[in-house]
Each structure stands twice: as C-alpha cells, then as structure tokens.
C-alpha cells in the first residue's frame, strides 16, 4: 500500500505546489488587511473564512476528482492492473486523503495562530479593554485547548466521512451505471441520498442514547463525554462501513 501511496502523492505534487501558492497569496492578503486595519478588517474576516472553508472544500473536491478520474479515465488502468486488491487501492487514497486533511487543518491553525498574534499586537494591545470586553462576554463559552482539540477531531471525522461518502457514491454509480452520460451529476445525487440516509440513521442513534442530534452544548465536559464521544464512535463506524463497501465493489463489481 505504501507504493500506491507514493504514486498518489506524486500525482498530487503539482496541485500541492499550486495550492501552496494560493494559500500564500490569501495569507499575504490577510496580513495586508491586518496592517491596514479599519474597514479592511471586514475583508480580513472574509479571507480567513475563505482560507478555512475554501481549503476544506478544495481538499474534498481534490479527493473526489482523483478517485473519479481513476474510475472513469483510462489512466486508472495503471493502478487497477497492478497486483493489488480494491481495498489496498482505496486504502492508499483514503490514507492520503486523511493526511491531506490533517495537514490542511494544521497549516490553517498555524496561520491563524500567527494572524491572531498579529491582530492582538496591532489592534488589541493598544486599545485596552477590547479583548477584556470580548473575554468578559464570551470567555465562558470559549473552549480550552483540550476541548478545542476534541471538537476539532470531531470536525475532522465528519469531514473525512463526507470524503468516504463521496467515494462510495462514485463507486456505486460506477457499479450500477458504468458508462452513462452525466456521471458526475448522478454520483452527486447518490451522494445526497447517502448523506440523507446516514444523517437519518445517526439522528436515530443519537435519540436512542438521549443526545441532541443538532446544536452544540457549551458545557464542554458534558459535550466531550457524551455527544462528541458518540460522534467519534458513530462516524468511525460509518467510515469503516463505507470503506469496506467501496473496497468490495471495486474488487467484485466495478467495470473499468
């Protein structure tokens, strides 16, 4: 599987360089708006959001395109002719996708830490009272580092389960409707159906254990011990089910 992962990385190399350049440009924009201050801080907020949410969407789309092109384009023959089974091929993609997601989160948080330090240095330090006013009003609902890490972990798992859901949707589409037009749209419909189905099952499980399915409890200790722990377990189970179903289909049913 390591060799498969090696070639997954090589395939992504060029895209990785391009995305790093984009990140650098957005970050330069963030730093510039921070220095300018005033109304520019509105643009600063947009750029911070763009870097975070845009990055997550970018990782999702990148994983979808890579997987989909291996199943629909002739270049995919190269790995599917190699003496490896469907689980190994999918496993390599999933591990690289997960590493990509973790690396993306890490890069984002390092940049945000630097940006917030700069923000504090430029705009909060002199205007005493602004930070204390913020902490006075919102200090109670802010998580500590451990709690923030646990919430982040749940977010990563949720996002990762979306990637796996999309993999399963593409694999199902390729299994049931191998060579049809509008394959991307059909895969997306399969994805939506799967997301609705999985959300329904998750909600039922949460209800069964008495956790609120939606919303967040600001009692973090209770949240981590209850809802988040359930979320780790349930999401991990769904990730495993989706992985093994897709791997089985790749081995036994998918025609390239």
């Amino acid at each position: 599987m390591l060799k498969l992962m090696k070639y997954e990385i090589l395939r992504k190399q060029r895209l990785l360089y391009i995305s790093l350049v984009i990140v650098a440009v957005i970050e330069a924009g963030i730093v510039y708006t921070l220095y300018r201050g005033g109304n520019s801080l509105a643009i600063f907020s947009i750029l911070v959001f763009l870097l975070g949410f845009g990055g997550l969407v970018f990782i999702l789309i990148d994983n979808i395109i890579m997987y989909s092109s291996d199943l629909t384009k002739k270049q995919g023959y190269m790995i599917f002719l190699a003496p490896r089974n469907g689980y190994q091929i999918l496993g390599a993609k999933v591990v690289i996708g997960f590493i990509e997601l973790i690396a993306g989160f890490l890069l984002y948080f390092i940049l945000m830490f630097l940006n917030s330090s700069l923000f504090y240095h430029l705009h909060v330090e002199e205007k005493t009272g602004l930070l204390s006013l913020f902490l006075e009003n919102f200090g109670d609902i802010l998580p500590n580092s451990y709690e923030a890490f646990m919430i982040l972990l749940a977010l990563i798992l949720i996002w990762f389960s979306y990637i796996l859901t999309m993999y399963l949707a593409i694999t199902l589409r390729k299994t049931v409707l191998s060579n049809v037009k509008f394959s991307g749209i059909i895969s997306f419909v399969f994805f939506i159906v799967l997301v609705i189905l999985i959300s329904f099952i998750k909600t039922k499980i949460y209800e069964l254990f008495g956790f609120p399915a939606f919303g967040i409890d600001f009692n973090y200790d209770k949240l981590i011990k209850g809802q988040l722990t359930a979320s780790y377990i349930i999401d991990s189970i769904f990730i495993l089910i989706m992985f093994f179903t897709s791997g089985y289909l790749l081995n036994k049913r998918v025609d390239l």
Partner: protein, 232 residues
C-alpha cells in the same frame, strides 16, 4: 500445457452481449492472434482476463487461479488506449513498473526505450500518439510475464516502427510464456502467429493452428479473415 482457460464466459445484458459464452483453452509457448473487426468482443475478452471487467457469467483461470491480484502478477496487459498517467516521465513509468511488478526488468526497459527512439526524461503528457504507443509496448514487454495480452499493438504506429514492434514481440516469445495479440492488421501480424482465434459477435467462430487452418482451407489468414467477416 494450458495457461489460460475460460468457461462459458459472457459479458453483457440480455440480447446485447459483447462476449457470448466463450470457452477457450490457451496453451503455453505460443503466439495467438485474436482476430475480428471492431465490436466483435476482442477487447472485452482481454479486459476480463486482465481483471478490468467482471464477467456476467462463466469463469476465467490463469495458471489455475481465478482472476485477482495473484493473476495480475503474471499477466502483462497492454490496453489499446493510452493508459499511462500524463504526469509521469518515462523514467517514472519504469520506476512504477519496477515497484509493482516483480517480473519487470529495468535494463530491458532501458534497451527497449532506446530501441523505440524514446528518451527517459520525456514527459508522458507531451508524447505523440505513436510515441505513447511505443512506450506502452516497451513497458509491457519489459516484464517477464507468463501471459502477455497486446490489444492492437500497431495502432497509431508508422510503418517503419511497426517492424520494430513486431521484432520486439517475436523476441519476447518463448516456451514459458504466451502472447495474445488482437489486431485488425492481420496481414502484418500473420507471419508471427502460431494460432488464430476468430471472434464474431462475441463468439469464437474459428480457432486453430495458423499453419493447419491455412492448409485445410487453402487460404492465407488474411483471405480467411476477409471471408469470415465479409458478411458482417
């Protein structure tokens, strides 16, 4: 001794069958010509043996094993389409094959790349159709596989290079391996074939030693091909 066996192999739905109940025994140490016009089922049959397509019914065994990771270790399939990743250089293609196939011979690959007048630092994405075809053949023939399947190996290749490719295929043939070649260019292939398999509408219509078929029918393989498929 048999290397490849298919039993009542079918691919397709209801009346639309690309391969329709093919039962074949392919022996070791021979070069087979899988002949037939477009849409006769040659590529579908090869792709099922390579493990890229799954049969609707029937079964396939290579060296006594069902199709899977184990049979892929001993099968070298060259698709008619360009299946090599565009981001790779020719050198990376060699590394990829070395990483995944134990029977890959890097020195043979270097020799074949040189013979095909290609260069190691060339990018796959920048190769012309003919050059990409030469690369596919060089990479496939650099393996020491038991079973070679070459789907239209002369497609997109100029006349001079065709001779080179046929020579490379002949050099690869030995008593321990089997080479199956599908082609429309029967006249160019005829001289290197030991056995021929004529496929029509997903079914085998004629199979046998090229020499015996020629003697029995009193015709060359090319003339026989025209006779079998004229009514298509």
């Amino acid at each position: 001794m048999q290397l490849l066996e298919t039993n009542h192999l079918t691919k397709g739905f209801l009346s639309k069958k690309a391969v329709n109940g093919i039962t074949l025994q392919i022996e070791k140490g021979k070069v087979y010509g899988l002949l037939g016009p477009n849409g006769s089922g040659k590529t579908t049959l090869m792709k099922m043996v390579a493990g890229l397509l799954h049969p609707s019914s029937g079964d396939i065994q290579i060296d006594g094993k069902p199709i899977g990771a184990e049979t892929k270790k001993i099968t070298a399939y060259m698709s008619t389409e360009n299946f090599i990743y565009g981001y790779m250089s020719i050198k990376t293609v060699g590394k990829f094959f070395k990483d995944f196939y134990e029977d890959f011979r890097p020195q043979e690959f270097e020799k074949l790349i040189d013979y095909m007048e290609l260069e190691m630092n060339m990018k796959v994405a920048s190769l012309s159709t003919g050059m990409a075809s030469k690369l596919k053949i060089a990479a496939t023939l650099s393996r020491n596989s038991k079973l070679f399947m070459l789907d239209e190996p002369l497609n997109g290749i100029d006349l001079v290079a065709r001779e080179k490719i046929l020579n490379a295929i002949v050099e690869k043939a030995n008593w321990d391996n089997t080479i199956i070649i599908s082609s429309h260019l029967v006249d160019q292939m005829e001289k290197i074939l030991d056995d021929v398999i004529f496929i029509k509408d997903g079914e085998v219509v004629l199979k046998g030693s090229a020499e015996v078929v020629r003697e029995q029918r009193g015709k060359s393989i090319v003339d026989l091909y025209k006779e079998v498929y004229t009514s298509c």
